[in-house]
């Protein structure tokens, strides 16, 4: 099997021993195949953010293991974690998280610059990804000078420029208008189909989720149901998601 992500019995408990403890994750397990587009849905407080933080090496689990490309990321030390994030993970945030004092080009180049890639190679890679995402025209502008939709494209370019093993989206359409949101989701979908980019997207928006191949529903720190798109149209899948959400 060609697994990109393998999560085994993940738990996370907040609060020290003797104090009042809170279990945010209560044994989460799932797998993500290479080239899959998986959505994770859940209400506020369901453990979505905690899960994503652990999967992206920003936090450590209390128990359980996470393998990305067969490497156990829960056993890494702080520096290794940072390096791993920088090399293997791409991240699109809800509020873009672009650095407003850098040009868009410099923003996109950042992950490569951190890995000390040669300048000329960086330039080529930035041009290539910008071309793919249709943002070549705005490369030398600053984030403050472009629209929200364009900002999220720049952020996507930054997330993909270093060819990460997996792309995480944390409510990537949360701050976008509906037109820009659709554009972004179409682009993500296209990257997934054409370039085999593996995507894990956390959202509570059924419309965004309907672009995924498979949806895991997380509730009270556990994975509940799972929905597969199979051969449905996106619209039918959307209805199925709504139905699933209404069931709870």
């Amino acid at each position: 099997m060609n697994e990109i992500l393998n999560v085994e019995q993940l738990t996370k408990t907040y609060g020290k021993k003797g104090e009042k403890q809170y279990q945010a994750l209560k044994g989460v397990s799932f797998k993500l195949q290479k080239g899959e587009f998986v959505g994770i849905m859940g209400a506020s407080g369901s453990g979505k953010t905690t899960l994503l933080n652990i999967l992206s090496t920003m936090d450590k689990p209390t128990s359980g293991k996470v393998f990305i490309n067969s490497q156990d990321i829960t056993s890494l030390n702080k520096n290794q974690m940072a390096d791993f994030r920088g090399k293997e993970i791409g991240f699109i945030f809800q509020d873009f998280n672009l650095l407003e004092n850098l040009s868009n080009r410099e923003n996109i180049a950042l992950p490569l610059a951190l890995q000390n890639v040669k300048a000329r190679l960086i330039n080529d890679k930035v041009e290539e990804i910008a071309n793919k995402l249709g943002i070549t025209q705005i490369l030398d502008k600053y984030p403050a000078e472009i629209s929200g939709g364009q900002k999220q494209r720049v952020a996507s370019a930054r997330a993909l420029v270093h060819n990460p093993a997996i792309l995480y989206g944390d409510e990537p359409t949360g701050a976008l208008d509906s037109k820009s949101a659709t554009e972004l989701l179409t682009t993500m979908s296209k990257l997934n189909k054409e370039d085999q980019v593996s995507i894990l997207m956390v959202t509570h928006d059924p419309y965004s989720a309907s672009y995924a191949d498979r949806i895991l529903f997380i509730k009270d720190g556990k994975i509940g149901n799972e929905l597969r798109k199979e051969n449905q149209s996106r619209e039918d899948f959307y209805q199925a998601i709504i139905a699933e959400l209404g069931r709870r």
């Binding site: 992206s56 920003m58 702080k78 520096n79 940072a82 390096d83 791993f84 994030r85 920088g86 090399k87 993970i89 991240f91 945030f93 998280n97 650095l99 407003e100 004092n101 850098l102 410099e106 180049a109 950042l110 992950p111 490569l112 610059a113 951190l114 000390n116 890639v117 300048a119 000329r120 960086i122 330039n123 600053y142 403050a144 000078e145 930054r158």
Partner: protein, 597 residues
């Protein structure tokens, strides 16, 4: 209820408040120390009696400068306070607290913090004044009297000055916060960044800045030609030049570096440059002020320490350390302890018009003297042994300081003529000791003994060298003390101002560092980037300040033998202290921006 909230707000950010509070306390302490010095006439009259008027002028000038920098400092410290509390105030307002109530809360909060800091500052100031003055007096061997830590008028004026400042700051805070919208209070850090793009203008500013600085430095170095016009000319051109340089030259340099993708696309270089460019635009004014204050402070310390050279030069100018008229037996014990290396006696006769000394005897016994000459506009003293050849030059030496004064003109005659003078023959003995500086206090005691002995009056004392040394020491000590005080006070203020300017931007910078961490930047690299960035913000004004001083010292050539002598001592002291401020700023800044959620 709101008061309770306010208190918990302060408690939860205790560390930040501690920094702010200690900064304000320090400002009050320094202001108090300076006032004690400047307002205390008995200290001034005693220590710097020779230049009392000048000194008072220097002090009032220093006081005005200190007041201005304190004002600037309070403004920045205040904006730091405001940046910390904005979100809390916004939350209170969101919860439905009335505008008027919030505004009163802010007002009282600022005022209470200010007044507490002032009072504590004065207490610390009293202690510090005592400690520092004792330290300076013992370490530098200064001669300073009438200086005590507590001086009531200084206490009073410090309280009045700071009360007014904090009252203004409090009014400003409450006005500003109640005038700004709730949304902007809650999301202050998310405001768009203004980007400047005028290449031509930038170039023009950079060139104008360089030209103005050059004119300023030229004015300083040609003070002989320009006379007093050089001060205002240099002041205006250097201030304007520094501002333009910061506003343009460094921005242009950063732009140039950014164009080089080999440099930019390496680690966090792009990020650091972006931060710096963005900062320097916002920091123009403060960097200018800091560079000027840096120059003033460093200049004050350098010039102050240089006055020490006056005493050294004074010691150089005289060969013999002790002169004892008549019988030396009563002083045998003391002389033995002083470690005499050379002693010679000579005879003289005096009437009402002349003091006669035998030239032949002086040459025969091989008396030594210091010959005065001027080389390159500076005084030089050469040791000579008097002989037939050089005897004509005796009037350019210090030899006559060994002779009695007040009897008339000194006349050197041959042995034969000396015998013919109708007056009793008297003798005097001169001594050279191994270490004058170590023994001058003992020599001074010996001098008092000879004065008390009821021999015929020779002159004021047994050692003109000690007398001159003491006079020079008093003058030098006063200036040295003042230079140190002024310099340290300015340094503390300017470095704290810069520190608070940096720190008040920290909460806004935090999301950027968090984001860099999220996309996989090692914490170590982030720390390096912070150290570099703040380092440059500290280094730029320091570099300009040092250049200012190097040129500015030209101005003191009129007053001091060599203003550049041993310049590394004050520079080292100063830079070490400045570095400590830098390290503190970096640590505090890291604490704010790298803190995890």
């Amino acid at each position: 209820m709101l008061w309770k909230l306010s208190l918990t707000g302060i408690k939860s950010r205790f560390k930040d408040y501690a920094v702010l509070f200690s900064g304000l306390t320090l400002a009050a302490a320094i202001f108090y120390m300076f006032l004690t010095l400047a307002l205390n006439p008995s200290f001034l009259k005693d220590s710097v009696s020779l230049g009392y008027e000048t000194t008072q002028f220097v002090f009032s000038f220093g006081l005005v400068l200190l007041a201005i920098i304190t004002l600037v400092y309070i403004i920045y410290a205040n904006s730091f306070l405001l940046s910390m509390r904005k979100r809390d105030y916004g939350t209170y307002m969101m919860l439905g607290a009335k505008n008027r109530k919030i505004s009163r809360l802010i007002f009282v909060e600022t005022l209470v913090i200010g007044i507490l800091a002032t009072l504590l500052g004065i207490v610390i100031g009293i202690g510090l004044t005592q400690v520092i003055s004792n330290l300076l007096i013992s370490q530098l061997g200064l001669v300073i009297h009438h200086f005590v830590g507590f001086y009531f008028p200084a206490v009073l004026w410090t309280i009045i000055f700071f009360a007014i400042l904090f009252f203004l700051a409090a009014s400003w805070n409450s006005l500003k916060l109640t005038k700004s919208s709730l949304i902007s209070l809650l999301h202050e850090d998310q405001q768009p960044v203004h980007i400047m793009r005028h290449k031509g203008l930038l170039l023009f500013k950079a060139i104008a800045g360089l030209v103005l600085l050059a004119v300023g430095y030229w004015a300083m170095s040609t003070v002989q030609m320009l006379n007093l016009t050089s001060i205002p000319l240099a002041l205006v051109t250097i201030v304007a030049g520094s501002y333009l340089i910061f506003a343009s030259f460094f921005t242009a340099t950063i732009d140039l570096l950014r164009k080089n993708s080999n440099y930019t696309f390496k680690g966090l270089h792009a990020f650091s440059l972006g931060q710096l460019k963005f900062r320097i635009n916002a920091y123009n004014r403060i960097l200018t002020i800091v560079s000027l204050l840096f120059a003033l402070a460093l200049g004050a310390i350098t010039v102050g320490l240089n006055f020490n050279n006056l005493t050294a030069q004074n010691l150089e100018s005289q060969y013999y350390d002790i002169v004892i008229p008549g019988d030396t037996k009563p002083y045998k014990a003391e002389l033995k302890q002083l470690g005499v290396t050379d002693s010679k006696s000579f005879s003289f006769k005096n009437n009402n018009a002349h003091v006669y000394v035998s030239k032949d005897e002086i040459i025969r016994k091989g008396f030594k003297a210091k010959l005065f000459s001027v080389k390159n506009g500076q005084a030089h003293y050469t040791e000579i042994t008097l002989n037939q050849k050089n005897f004509a030059k005796i009037y350019s030496t210090d030899f006559d300081t060994n002779l009695p004064r007040g009897y008339g003109e000194v006349t050197y005659v041959s042995d034969a003529k000396f015998k013919q003078v109708k007056a009793p023959t008297r003798t005097a003995t001169v001594y050279k000791v191994a270490d004058f500086l170590k023994n001058w206090k003992a020599i001074s005691k010996l001098e008092k003994k000879t004065l008390n002995a009821k021999t015929e009056r020779y002159w004021n004392g047994a050692s003109p060298k000690v007398f001159n040394h003491q006079a020079a020491m008093t003058l030098a000590s006063g200036f040295e003390f003042m230079g140190f005080f002024l310099g340290l006070a300015f340094l503390a203020m300017l470095a704290s101002t810069l520190m608070f300017k940096v720190l008040s931007g920290a909460s806004g910078d935090r999301p950027r560092y968090q984001m860099l961490w999220k996309i996989g930047t090692r914490t170590k690299l982030l720390k390096q980037s912070i150290a570099k960035e703040i380092g440059i913000l500290f280094a730029l004004p320091a570099a300009l300040g040092i250049i200012d001083v190097l040129f500015g010292l030209q101005f003191f050539k009129l007053l001091l033998p060599d203003p550049y002598d041993k310049i590394w001592i004050p520079f080292t002291i100063f830079i070490v202290l400045y570095l400590l401020y830098y390290l503190l700023t970096v640590k505090l800044y890291e604490g704010i921006v790298l803190k995890k959620d």
